[in-house]
């Protein structure tokens, strides 16, 4: 059952964007499009011709494909609670976070290649904020390692569910909180970046893909959806109770993913975007929360 992790990622990637769209439109009193509307847009994009800017070089054309490859490669490591991931080795979360970082690296350079000041601004913000979020993920992972004593995703989530005492509950709550924040920042949702804004000056991720078109834009959308699914699955693994069989677990998976999508939709409808120079402070709070989790585990176990 090694492929379970990958399958669940693809499944949730199919549903998540649609549900988010639907929750946002219901919250704002509209009926909202079908669940698979985002994928219909992607299908339209795939059929389009492509327009490239004169200033861009070969790198700009290569970047979307490579960043999608990084996300696909990252999704191989995600386990479905007890059922193993495609690859798993000691410290695979290091490879996971660095492969995502190289994806970001390529998208940032592609943005700079277009030579427009908007894309430069987006690239600068993306680089700056992703630099600030790096420590949060690593501190969270070290808390899990302190709690479970093993260093790869699969073993962490196996031992994680087994202990079942009150420490686990605290960590699952904090884990969900931190992972949710990281997911929002990584997939550039509301508190840090607003996907629906029209003013280039306020965008971060959207403005970096201004000049992509057709096939490349589709690839980028797919990679964002996949990344969202990956984080959804990570949140699921943290919260799943240990004594469930395979069927109950998949039902619980669907429940958590829908809940995850709905929360994102609600957050986007009811919360405004942060002021741009407030973002560094906001992102640092995420690392602070993770640091508190680590401090707790340190005092408890040592």
């Amino acid at each position: 059952m090694i492929v379970a992790g990958l399958l669940s990622v693809i499944l949730s990637a199919l549903f998540l964007p649609g549900i988010i769209l639907r929750t946002k439109s219901i919250a704002s009193g509209r009926k909202g499009p079908g669940i698979f509307q985002p994928y219909r847009d992607i299908a339209v994009l795939l059929k389009k011709d492509s327009v490239f800017s004169k200033t861009t070089g070969p790198l700009f054309r290569m970047a979307p494909a490579v960043s999608l490859a990084t996300v696909i490669c990252a999704s191989f490591f995600i386990p479905l609670s007890r059922y193993g991931a495609l690859f798993s080795f000691d410290g695979d979360f290091i490879f996971f976070s660095y492969i995502l970082a190289s994806g970001k690296f390529f998208s940032i350079i592609a943005a700079l290649d277009t030579g427009s000041s908007f894309e430069g601004m987006g690239a600068n913000r993306e680089a700056f904020f992703s630099m600030l979020i790096e420590p949060a993920f690593f501190i969270l992972m070290s808390t899990f390692i302190m709690a479970t004593g093993s260093t790869s995703f699969k073993e962490i989530y196996e031992n994680f569910t087994v202990t079942g005492n009150h420490i686990v509950i605290i960590f699952s709550i904090i884990g969900v909180l931190v992972l949710l924040q990281i997911a929002l920042i990584e997939t550039s949702r509301v508190p840090v970046d607003d996907p629906k804004t029209h003013l280039e000056l306020t965008m971060i991720h959207e403005v970096m893909i201004l000049d992509n078109c057709g096939f490349d834009k589709a690839l980028i959308h797919i990679s964002t959806y996949l990344k969202m699914a990956i984080y959804g699955l990570l949140i699921f693994n943290v919260t799943v109770p240990y004594n469930l069989g395979i069927i109950q677990q998949s039902a619980f998976l669907v429940l958590t993913q829908v809940l995850f999508a709905v929360t994102i939709g609600l957050v986007e409808s009811f919360r405004a975007r942060n002021k741009m120079n407030k973002n560094p402070k906001y992102i640092l709070t995420v690392s602070a929360v993770a640091w508190i989790a680590f401090a707790i585990i340190l005092i408890m176990t040592k």
């Binding site: 492509s50 494909a65 690859f87 290091i94 680089a127 340190l298």
Partner: protein
């Protein structure tokens, strides 16, 4: 005469021949000599690492047998010899193209001095790594400084290069004084002036003070944080092939010295480990934070060497802490990560300096604010610089990731096992290392993006042409090694673990280390998968777009028609929001004459901002200025009047008599 003595004296006379040989043949002669020595020494060191399985076995060579130099190659020096060989060979191959325009400008003797000091630098680095007893070690340590000084001041017509070269020489001399003082203390207590004397010195006397002396002496050469003041000056001044070799390999001699001393340290390892870890964490962070605000590409790379030295130092510091709390996993993984990063850094840093050199040769400027759009004009150098920056940021398919992974996994594995304080240390190291990784990505996206992508910002960048193939091909050697280590990392990590266990006499390699070595195979596998997937996607994209119509138009400018290259993001603007949080540590001054009210039609204005290095001012500039002024005030004796000259003698006698009378002297 034994064959080693014959070989060494023969090589030295051959290199003296360079002075007599005219023109281009100088280059080929020095290349032949270098290649010969590279082959011999690499054979010696490879067989030392792989064949000599006996514990602590060493190959011994003695030159001028009775009391001449005694060279000992153990596994540690063998590793460093290989690191030195790779980069120096690529440096000289690259120099063929880089130095061609200089033949017209420089005269014959100047070129032969350059080639001779290049070979001298190479030989002295080899000998520094092989020597154990004090005086020859110090001699070749200083010859290495003098040779690199002569290389740095190659195009000395420009006064600022001369100034930074001399500053470099003086600071290397300070480093030598520290090491000399340390050796003399050892010699005073134990009577032997050599590294072996350290063993019984450390047995009876406190270790930290002497280690600190050694650490400062070697740290000045390595470029740890407050000792780094020469690095951002010397590297940009040197010609690119020299700065590639210097920052790739010569800095590592300082690291070699620190490790060599650590081999002999017996007690209070924890405090030493703490010092090394703290200093390297801070140099890593400060190095990359300073690198982000630089405009000159070679200064940016120089500050980045400080960051990578910090990462190596973190590896070594963790190794020492592992030894202190005898946590074998942390010790072996920390040292292996540190040593592998020594090899990795020498590869991608020299690659970056060489491609920056080709950019400099094509555009004659190092200020990235004036470059841009070079990707289309110099595709090869751009591709090489890209691989270098991917590797230096530690991104997966390349070698930088492997050494950072080893350091990370060492920390994560020992987190659950260690007590409260060690875990606090480890978590701070983890946070530091991840921040360094993020900052490195921030810095190199800026460097690569602003230099190679977008539109050319100046005429110089506009007319840049790709450099000759003879400069591109040598740079492929480090690229080959980078990819090789990235993909097939176990071939490199396993011998490194044997080097560490032999050096630090850690007998049994515990089970968890062999587990993390097997995970390296998994990493290579997943890196291969990643490359395959991206290749597949690109191929599918090619197929998909083959029969589609492709139209070219201007970049999206929100409908503004008259976009100019000056509107692109420059390096200052890219680092703008970062500067807000880094304000206390990096004071930037903005020079912008503001527009007064009565100025109705304000004329052309220019904005420029530059940031200085807090440490340089505090550690180097202020004390030197104060002493300089004081010394100048003292020099008033030469007044030209005879009576003053006799007065000095008179006063000297009177004061001496009074002092002796009062029994002071």
């Amino acid at each position: 005469m034994s064959d080693e003595t014959f070989f060494i004296s023969g090589v030295f006379c051959l290199s003296l021949l360079i002075f007599l040989v005219p023109g281009q043949i100088k280059y080929y002669l020095s290349l032949a000599i270098l290649a010969l020595v590279v082959v011999v020494t690499s054979y010696l060191s490879l067989n030392q690492i792989f064949e000599k399985t006996a514990v602590q076995a060493t190959t011994e060579l003695n030159i001028f047998p009775p009391d001449g130099l005694k060279l000992i190659i153990d596994r540690l020096s063998a590793f460093f010899i290989i690191v030195v060989n790779i980069t120096t060979l690529t440096g000289l191959l690259y120099a063929k193209g880089y130095l061609r325009p200089y033949y017209k400008v420089k005269n014959d003797i100047h070129m032969s001095v350059h080639y001779f000091s290049y070979l001298l630098l190479y030989f002295s680095m080899l000998l520094v790594v092989m020597l154990r007893d004090g005086i020859p070690f110090l001699i070749f340590w200083e010859i290495m400084a003098v040779a690199s000084f002569l290389l740095v001041i190659f195009d000395a017509e420009d006064r600022s290069i001369l100034k930074s070269g001399i500053g470099y020489l003086v600071q290397m001399h300070i480093g030598m004084f520290f090491i000399l003082a340390a050796f003399l203390i050892v010699e005073k207590k134990t009577g032997i002036m050599s590294f072996d004397g350290l063993k019984n010195y450390f047995a009876y006397n406190p270790d930290t003070f002497l280690f600190l002396l050694f650490f400062i002496g070697f740290g000045i050469k390595a470029g740890f944080i407050s000792l780094h003041t020469w690095l951002p000056e010397a590297h940009p001044a040197a010609p690119s092939h020299v700065s590639g070799v210097m920052s790739g390999v010569m800095i590592k001699m300082g690291i070699y010295g620190i490790i060599r001393v650590l081999l002999y340290v017996q007690d209070d390892l924890l405090t030493i480990g703490l010092i090394v870890l703290a200093v390297s964490l801070f140099s890593g962070l400060f190095g990359v934070m300073m690198a982000i605000v630089q405009h000159d590409i070679k200064r940016l790379l120089a500050y980045h060497s400080i960051e990578n030295i910090g990462i190596i130092g973190i590896g070594i510091g963790l190794g020492v802490i592992g030894l202190a709390v005898n946590n074998q996993v942390l010790a072996v993984l920390g040292f292996t990560g540190g040593l592998l990063h020594v090899l990795n850094h020498s590869l991608f840093k020299s690659l970056l300096f060489f491609s920056a050199g080709s950019v400099y040769q094509a555009t004659h400027t190092r200020n990235i604010e004036q470059l841009g759009g070079l990707m289309k004009r110099m595709p090869w150098s751009a591709a090489l610089f890209l691989t270098g920056s991917l590797a230096i940021c530690g991104l997966p398919p390349f070698n930088g990731f492997i050494s950072e992974y080893l350091i990370y996994i060492g920390m994560f594995k020992s987190l659950p096992l260690s007590d409260l304080y060690i875990s606090l240390l480890l978590i701070s190291a983890i946070i530091g290392l991840s921040l360094i990784g993020g900052l490195a990505i921030f810095c190199f996206t800026k460097a690569f993006g602003v230099t190679f992508l977008g539109e050319p910002r100046s005429a110089k960048a506009g007319e840049a042409r790709e450099t000759g193939m003879d400069m591109i091909i040598p740079q492929l050697i480090p690229v080959l090694f980078i990819v090789l280590i990235g993909i097939a990392s176990t071939f490199f990590v396993r011998p490194l673990i044997s080097v560490i266990s032999d050096a630090f006499a850690i007998a049994a390699v515990p089970q968890s280390i062999s587990a993390s070595v097997s995970s390296l195979n998994a990493i290579s596998l997943s890196a291969g998968v990643f490359v395959l997937i991206s290749a597949a996607l690109l191929f599918y994209r090619y197929l998909h777009l083959k029969n589609k119509k492709v139209v070219y138009g201007p970049t999206w400018g929100c409908g503004y028609r008259a976009c100019t290259p000056r509107q692109q993001y420059t390096s200052t603007s890219f680092a703008y929001n970062y500067l807000h949080i880094a304000k206390p540590l990096i004071p930037t001054t903005k020079v912008m004459p503001e527009i007064t009210e009565e100025e109705i039609f304000p004329e052309k204005r220019s904005f420029e901002s530059h940031s200085e290095d807090v440490f340089r001012k505090a550690v180097a500039d202020k004390p030197v200025e104060w002493m300089w002024k004081m010394l100048k005030k003292l020099a008033v004796m030469q007044t030209g009047r005879i009576q003053d000259y006799i007065l000095y003698a008179f006063i000297f006698i009177i004061i001496a008599l009074i002092l002796t009378y009062l029994k002071v002297i």
